[in-house]
Symmetry: C3
Subunit: 334 residues, 3 copies
């Protein structure tokens, strides 16, 4: 009961944090018909700035990290990414009025990771003064790529069985397409630069100080985008909206449980467990859709993009982040 009250208080406090407030503000002004617009080029640049900052930070901390500590969380990230898609395959994709390939593609997008949601979670952790392994964001590709690969393979197996074709699905092009995506390649480049060069000065003088402010602008854009995409979601079966509301929390809870195992076995920090849960809770908004479009051309983007952008991402940020933070307080007693 106390824990519930504490959680409610925390949620209310989070609603006042800039990260959430700008997201909700974006939804609000879009709903009120505002003509405010953050240009596409600014949006792209902000995403680059955030992921470069996350990557540089990760790379610099990997220098001093014990690589063995990363093994178990990385393995769990792979299992979570693949597992989320398998769960979606045998729930959402089997529902009546849901085309199987649309269900699989949606599960793939929810298994994949959103760099923006990750950045939001990092800002909240840092605002609350909660420590985490700074290499934890580097778990991103370990969850993202298996999810997209499994989704595309499952969809193609299904379509082949149905159509009796016998083309082989090739894994490497999917992996390559994912790694070449703009969000992931900005973060991986940042990791490489943080690992092999000396970017401390520009990290501390440029990328880090602009991090929170740029995130507030990004949250505003994501809120406006979430509202704008609602129309697309209305055109597909209701199941997608229901899945998009539940999956981020369920997926996050599974990841939280596995993160807890890593905490017990190898001392993975509570902050790291929260980040792993948020990675699982998030659904891809930038890099995932084009990969899925190429890999499952017959799936309907309105279903998976609509579900992810207009419901999945707001749920992951506005409910997921305070939920997993609150859970971590209860579980780890911090």
């Amino acid at each position: 009961m106390d824990a519930l009250l504490d959680f409610a208080t925390r949620l209310l406090a989070q609603l006042q944090s800039p990260t959430l407030a700008f997201l909700l503000g974006g939804i609000l002004i879009a709903a009120l018909g505002s003509r405010l617009e953050i240009p596409e080029s600014i949006y792209k640049f902000i995403v680059f700035m955030l992921l470069m900052r996350v990557g540089l930070d990760g790379g610099m901390s990997i220098r001093e990290a014990n690589l063995a500590d990363m093994l178990l969380p990385a393995l769990f990230a792979v299992l979570i990414g693949a597992g989320i898609v398998l769960i979606g395959r045998f729930t959402l994709a089997l529902l009546p009025s849901v085309r199987t390939e649309d269900g699989i593609a949606t599960a793939g997008l929810f298994g994949a990771v959103s760099g923006s949601t990750l950045a939001a979670a990092i800002v909240v952790l840092e605002s609350e003064g909660i420590d985490y392994e700074h290499w934890a964001p580097a778990l991103y590709p370990f969850m993202d790529i298996p999810a997209l690969v499994v989704a595309i393979v499952l969809a193609n197996l299904y379509l082949k069985r149905r159509d009796g074709s016998s083309e082989k699905v090739r894994i490497w092009p999917i992996v390559k397409e994912s790694l070449q995506g703009s969000a992931l390649s900005a973060m991986l480049l940042g990791i490489a630069l943080g690992l092999f060069t000396r970017p401390e000065q520009i990290f501390e003088g440029f990328y880090d100080p602009l991090f929170r402010g740029l995130l507030s602008v990004l949250m505003l854009v994501m809120g406006m985008e979430a509202y704008a995409r609602l129309n697309e979601l209305r055109r597909v079966a209701h199941w997608f909206a229901i899945y998009a509301a539940i999956a981020p929390l369920l997926n996050g809870l599974i990841a939280f449980a596995l993160g807890y195992v890593a905490h017990v076995l190898t001392g993975f920090s509570p902050g790291g467990v929260v980040l792993l849960a948020i990675l699982a809770s998030s659904s891809s908004d930038i890099s995932g859709p084009p990969t899925l479009r190429a890999g499952i051309p017959s799936a309907n983007p309105s279903a998976y993009v609509g579900a992810s952008t207009s419901v999945g991402t707001p749920v992951a940020i506005a409910i997921g982040i305070p939920l997993f933070l609150g859970l971590s307080q209860v579980v780890f007693g911090t």
Copy 2:
């Protein structure tokens, strides 16, 4: 005589302030045919950043403000906005070789408010260390919306009488269109976020430190734009240029007088009086034109946009700001 000398000195000093210098620099390099270009998307983002900063600041200060103090200035703002248009209706719009609807639309634009000019005035006040009520920028919509509403209503009454049509002018769509404009909705969102959430950290770490620098870039763009629009102004009657040179100063003086009344009656600060005068002096550059285009489709945008952008705004910034500051020193003895 001393006051005049003091004013001349102040004007010269203002010409060296970055705000003015970048505006004049923009006019200069455009006149010299420079191919320098600040992309449209950067311009839009800068306007967003400035108005969000002004809004956040306003919202945070309204939290601690005595709302009763805002009543009289807000009432005066409404009167000024409507009054400027009425004055224009019975001077500019009656002149020979001025089409009545063009004259009314121009007066509407000069009654409406420019977020960029407001931002410039705030930077100058803060550079000079002059206090003002931080909620004063929130007077913006109280002046902006009545001006546009009155202009569109007057123009439509005139056109109906002339053409004998009997369509009714509806007020609410004009108000809604104004509130949904990109500049005003950015500022109102900022006010709401400042009022209801806790944005102190990103205000102090992001929006506020970038304020002056971004304003310098915006001034450069506005200078280049002012020069580029001169051609449009040349194509319409000279009266528009003459009105655009005089109205900002006259409107500002009227507002200064009313602000002085508020100072005597309710203690409105000298800095607040200057801001009220600048709001009246400014003419809308972003949000006003599309509202007028929708509301008075037969008016010629070359007349009102040309007058506002190429003469009105430079006059308000380069002459209005030092004039009202100097006047405030003489009147309030600060």
Copy 3:
């Protein structure tokens, strides 16, 4: 031998500096097929920000500079700009399988100056704590314009002799075209604002703190661009690639020698000598190409733009900067 070892160590250290690391990172991710993209409008704005910063700094320091000190370096800059083109005219442009006008245009671009390379050199000098005359960047137009003028005149003389036409080449339009280019006019405006107004506050609060960070983004873009243009270079004679690899170093060495003369005669600082060498080493990427396209319409842009962007600029930054810094340590013993 020690000097060589010292130079190798310095080169390795430079490879870890953010400036170089982001350039190489850009080449790397472009080669790996990343879809990361820094929008064109962001790129243009960054170039503006960097050159405005360099210009403001220059203008503020010219206020206190002894103008007589600038005479000899400015004269040398003119000689170097014209000299580089003359050397190219009688080497590259005479080679078999090189069209004469393509060779002259390429030499013109290598005589002209790159604002981005200049900004990179300034960041490296400031990181290493090496003093330089802050007016030295103002040598830019003294080298840039003579190079473009000489190239266009030589090419037109050649083409006329070949075709027997008798049109006169006019110098002033070329000079004007250069001065109106976006990079040069941003820097000249910055110099004027620094010289005649008081921009200290926004220089220290905005343009200067963002300088290094924005440069890192620009280096990334230039790296990606260098890779993307390699294809164009492959379509023209190999001589262009060979010239582009050698000319930046050779031109820089000539400028270093002349800078040394200025050091002995008028006390030009070691840092200033390095900057003069880098100005000579750099090749124009923004302003030069359109001027050459207008002045020598029959020359093939794939040859000169490809050579400059994909080989010349990376060589000037990645080899030139550490080379001339190392040389300065050996020569001046600092």
